[in-house]
Symmetry: C2
Subunit: 349 residues, 2 copies
């Protein structure tokens, strides 16, 4: 091994999908979210894998991402969450992609574009106030909304990761009131965290993203990602010597240091400087000194042998733990991974 | 405009290169660092531009990056800072790329590989303890080191952004002692911040990266990057209403909100939630609520008209300011930009 590797355990994605299916009613479809290069794991390989997993519905943020999905899966439903790019209306038709209509303006533009039999989804703003149509706008323009060829109504929970939040209940109520205008249309309210709340939030379709990719720590969900990076240099650091930019770490005793060709340019947050860890098997190797763009240095004094590589995650430390250490959520760790890793995909036999 | 745009002002890169040339002796070459996709700005276009700017020497982190440079510039010197990947030795020969030898092991592996007339650089560990050969190792193995076909000796300052740091002087002294073994070989110690210290640090070659790309705020250096993103939705938020994930922002009065299709998946740090700004001309529009993966929301109540797009930077707020707000350096902002932007390159007439 001479380059950092991003290893994706497809069998764990499969197990996570199975778990989401196991907690859903039989009539509820499990769709997947593959925006942002499938959360940094590599859209092409991940979508290709999903085609073997009976996945029939994809959600992306942008039209470009949706076209990439369509090129791999010719028959699935593909929705663009970030709305209808009316300046490129013909592309939706050409690639059979369903925009998620997010505003009254987008309804009008969609009708103007006259895309024939193309379908769309409608996003309801049930309380997150980010995208979607409010109940008031919907009511005031209901004749216009009735004209669009809807095949799905969606909304998004702001606080699904807080099971006791009142707003989950309030958003569901608001969503259902809006859906009353379209009694025959399929409904989707829950992404991964929403799906984990309970079946009352599932309706016809759940949109699983982070939960499939191992970004939620939970008894029933498996980690998917490992980063392995070779050791390209080792040092003996004498007591009192500093290391890295601005010499923020000073050795309190003689230490052995390993240099790894992976840095914040590979999505390893600079906030992990002097705080994060790498692992050899399950032995912790603390990051010492500032993380550089392409390199970082770890204390390997506790290792009995000098390994050829180190891991970024262990049984005790996964993406969620790294996220906590850097004051963010696992989603941000995933999408920052960048393009320099060699990506490898595994299926357990 | 319907997609977020990353705008690169090539004329500003040109002006920044000119500035580095103006503060250097005539004999000092200005080389450039283009690792990590040219700091996120797009390696291909940036290297192509550098070929018009009399740039003759490039530094990358990895062999893959170096090969990309070689495919654009057939004659320049291209060095890989992260060392000699001896498992792929023939590639250096094939593409005429110079590895930077960082350890005794790499010297041995290079000699074993027997790459004929290929040249290399040697990195000295002058005190940063990250990569490079210490004076002791060099002295103990000088006959071996004398066998490698050196064309450059480099080292790297840990604290060049602290002009009064003693370690700048100490590292220079250590570097020069090591260079005494190779009196005829060209020397390079300074990257952008080192070049800004003074000419005593320049030697034969300075390696300009962040300073060329507008990541250093200074009287004589120009910003290079602008991010423009369309407004895809606007809302009236009533007093008391929340916005975004976990409703972390609650409106204290009626407000007007704009939603922008750019989020932490595009490198806009989630730490800017409820703290960052976007701009319309020079009017500040505060980010309200949590930044999502693909979206963020800003308060546009202060704008007299409803614009079609907003900017991420203004005359008063550049990449360095955004870095300060997120407890990092401008380098990390650049390399996180991601691949979803439409990249546009401008040359002032």
């Amino acid at each position: 091994m001479f380059s950092p590797e991003l290893q994706v355990q497809l069998s764990s994605i499969e197990a996570n999908l199975k778990y989401f299916r196991s907690i859903s009613n039989e009539e509820t479809e499990v769709g997947v979210v593959v925006k942002c290069d499938a959360y940094g794991l590599g859209l092409k390989k991940i979508v290709k894998f999903f085609t073997t997993q009976n996945i029939k519905t994809y959600f992306t943020a942008t039209l470009e991402e949706a076209i990439k999905v369509r090129k791999i899966d010719k028959s699935a439903k593909v929705y663009t969450l970030n709305g209808f790019y009316f300046q490129r209306a013909q592309k939706y038709h050409k690639y059979n992609i369903f925009p998620v209509i997010n505003s009254l303006l987008e309804v009008k533009k969609f009708l103007e574009a006259d895309l024939g039999p193309s379908s769309v989804a409608l996003q309801i703003n049930s309380g997150m106030n980010r995208l979607g149509v409010t109940r008031k706008i919907l009511r005031e323009n209901i004749n216009l909304f009735k004209k669009i060829p809807l095949n799905l109504i969606i909304s998004h929970l702001s606080s699904a990761d807080e099971p006791n939040s009142e707003s989950n209940i309030e958003q569901k109520r608001e969503f259902l009131k809006c859906c009353e205008h379209f009694p025959k249309i399929r409904k989707s309210l829950a992404a991964s965290h929403g799906a984990l709340l309970n079946r009352d939030f599932h309706f016809d379709l759940i949109r699983v993203g982070i939960g499939a990719y191992g970004g939620i720590k939970g008894a029933n969900l498996r980690p998917v990602l490992q980063i392995k990076s070779p050791i390209i240099n080792t040092y003996r650091l004498k007591k009192g010597m500093g290391i890295g930019y601005n010499l923020t770490f000073k050795a309190k005793k003689a230490m052995k240091i390993a240099t790894i060709p992976t840095g914040y340019g590979d999505g390893i947050s600079r906030l992990l400087s002097n705080r994060g860890f790498l692992f050899f098997r399950n032995v912790k190797c603390p990051i010492v000194g500032r993380i550089s763009m392409d390199l970082l240095t770890v204390d390997i004094s506790d290792l009995k042998t000098e390994p050829t590589y180190l891991n970024f995650f262990s049984d005790q430390y996964d993406v969620s733990d790294m996220a906590k250490q850097t004051d963010t959520i696992s989603h941000e760790i995933f999408v920052k991974l960048g393009s320099r890793y060699k990506r490898k995909y595994f299926i357990e036999q």
